[in-house]
């Protein structure tokens, strides 16, 4: 039997396999390049980039909960210029497409980020982050209202030839409504879910564990919620869906693909197992082989209900 095909097309990009890091959990790629060859990935997704350097939120920024991780990083990043000057040269050395997650406080900031990044060699696509729960202005404000979401995507669409992926928040009444609005506004794919808002309290001190009081929940705890969101969105839109939320194993990744995701992203699992993504890619290959499936695309949305 020939080697099964693992490659997928997302937003006009051909990925050699459907596995990529979730933005914000993989820095700008350098840290994990000590653990495996980044050329093995389907794509490289970097931490949110903002126009100006962002200091982030006060510590503590992390708290572990049952099978989950609460974070309130607050988009700490060195800003667009440093990203282009100091991070892109490293990222350009790798074959997988580089997807840059962008976050703005205003519509104008999203547009400026998109324009500037369109001129940068090696940037393959933009993931428009309209879903960060950890910054007061912007971020999620654009992602909870279909009109605002459409506004950002429309504005970015006009100023960039790059493929656009809208990153969606689950902290809404109906995520399919936002997904459809983003699709109609011209985005090429959607990625979901960003973290679920949550909190944890130290009962001895009667204080929240996060200095920011609330944070975003990720990790295995959110997987069923994420899977359900992906399943619903995949049936509501025609553009490809990148699924994420609590994926740790190839089996988890397959669940997302069967629910309708064309590709998957792995975040929190990498913290515990730096090579999780590589193991997942291997596991997908093994599953296809074992089930006599030639092409992974056959699995997308193939859940029998």
């Amino acid at each position: 039997m020939p080697l099964p095909n693992l490659s997928v097309n997302i937003a006009g990009l051909r990925l050699q396999n459907p596995v990529m890091p979730a933005s914000g959990t993989f820095g700008f790629g350098e840290e994990y390049s000590r653990f495996f060859d980044l050329n093995l990935l389907g794509a490289i997704v970097v931490k949110a980039v903002t126009l100006k350097p962002a200091p982030g939120n006060p510590p503590p920024r992390l708290a572990e909960t049952a099978s989950g991780l609460l974070n309130s990083i607050g988009l700490q990043n060195p800003g667009l210029e440093v990203f282009i000057r100091e991070k892109m040269p490293f990222l350009r050395r790798f074959k997988p497409p580089v997807i840059v997650n962008i976050a703005g406080k205003t519509l104008e900031e999203y547009v400026e980020l998109a324009e500037r990044l369109s001129e940068v060699e090696g940037v393959a696509a933009l993931e428009v982050n309209i879903s960060c729960p950890n910054v007061k202005e912007g971020g999620v404000a654009f992602g909870v209202d279909p009109k605002m979401a459409a506004g950002v995507i429309t504005a970015v669409r006009r100023r960039t030839p790059l493929p656009i992926i809208a990153k969606l928040t689950p902290n809404v009444t109906d995520i399919t409504e936002i997904a459809r609005a983003a699709e109609d506004a011209g985005c090429d794919a959607v990625s979901l879910i960003n973290t679920l808002q949550g909190m944890a309290i130290d009962v001895e001190r009667r204080r929240p564990l996060l200095a920011n009081v609330v944070g975003g929940l990720s990790g295995p705890a959110i997987k069923p919620v994420a899977l359900y969101a992906v399943w619903r969105v995949a049936r509501a839109v025609k553009i490809p869906v990148i699924g994420m939320g609590g994926i740790r194993t190839a089996t988890d990744a397959l669940e997302f693909m069967l629910a309708g995701a064309r590709a998957v992203a792995v975040g929190t699992a990498t913290f515990t197992r730096p090579t999780a993504m590589v193991e997942i890619i291997e596991g997908l290959r093994e599953y296809l082989h074992r089930n006599n499936i030639n092409d992974i695309n056959e699995l997308v949305g193939a859940i029998k209900v």
């Binding site: 840290e31 495996f36 200091p55 982030g56 006060p58 503590p60 992390l62 099978s67 700490q76 515990t272």
Partner: protein
Amino acid sequence: MSAGVEHIGLICSNVEIGPGAYLMEISLPEVALRARPGQFLHLRCGEGMEWLLRRPLSVHDVDKKSGRVSLLYQVVGKGTSWLAGQKPGINIDVLGPLGRGFSLPPCGGKALLVAGGVGIAPLFFLARELLGRGVILKFFLGARTRNLLLRLEALQRLGIEIEVATDDGSAGFSGPVTALLEKSIPKEKPDIVFACGPRPMLAACAGLLAGHHIPGEFSLEERMACGLGACRGCAVPVRSPEGGATYENVCTCGPVFAAQEIIW
């Protein structure tokens, strides 16, 4: 491929040496050779059970000859309870050595070391290295109560001068270890002070050192996820070179910081 960061080590011993405090020895030859005082290991806890993030623990000591690395930890929650239950013969998954350790003075000079509770963990290895470099040392060890003065005998065996303090007066000076430091600084005139312990203790030490213009290097703690600089979860506020404030990662810029760099 991993440039020696990912390791599986065999637990050689895991003994309770004080109430809820354990000394664990792991066979990790590569780490034993490369680790420097102040660096830490990021340990996978709870394998096969529920999912947990890794837990950071300082390198307490190394024995290059036997290839063993020891850790000293206090049981405070899920991860450390799991560690306490692990028996010799079990394999453990660690990343390390990680982070930036203490800067070791070339040789000679005088250093004071200040530990609060389990803060002795990184300072023991440091003390041994400093002795090897002919640095004159004095160790201040503080704890809540007598039986939490961890590794006191081991320190005594190193043959260094030690002063102890307990909050309840059950051994040595009755009061905070920082009071001992305060009295000693004018007398000892150290070239540098190394410290590790609870945040308030470190803040008090930093204040004392600033008053005497003595440099200090402190090992800090913050909650960690990746331990590698990728997630920005372990931020600590520091003075930026331009005079403002900024956040740095404890995992990669630290865990050891210059005392005056930190915004307490």
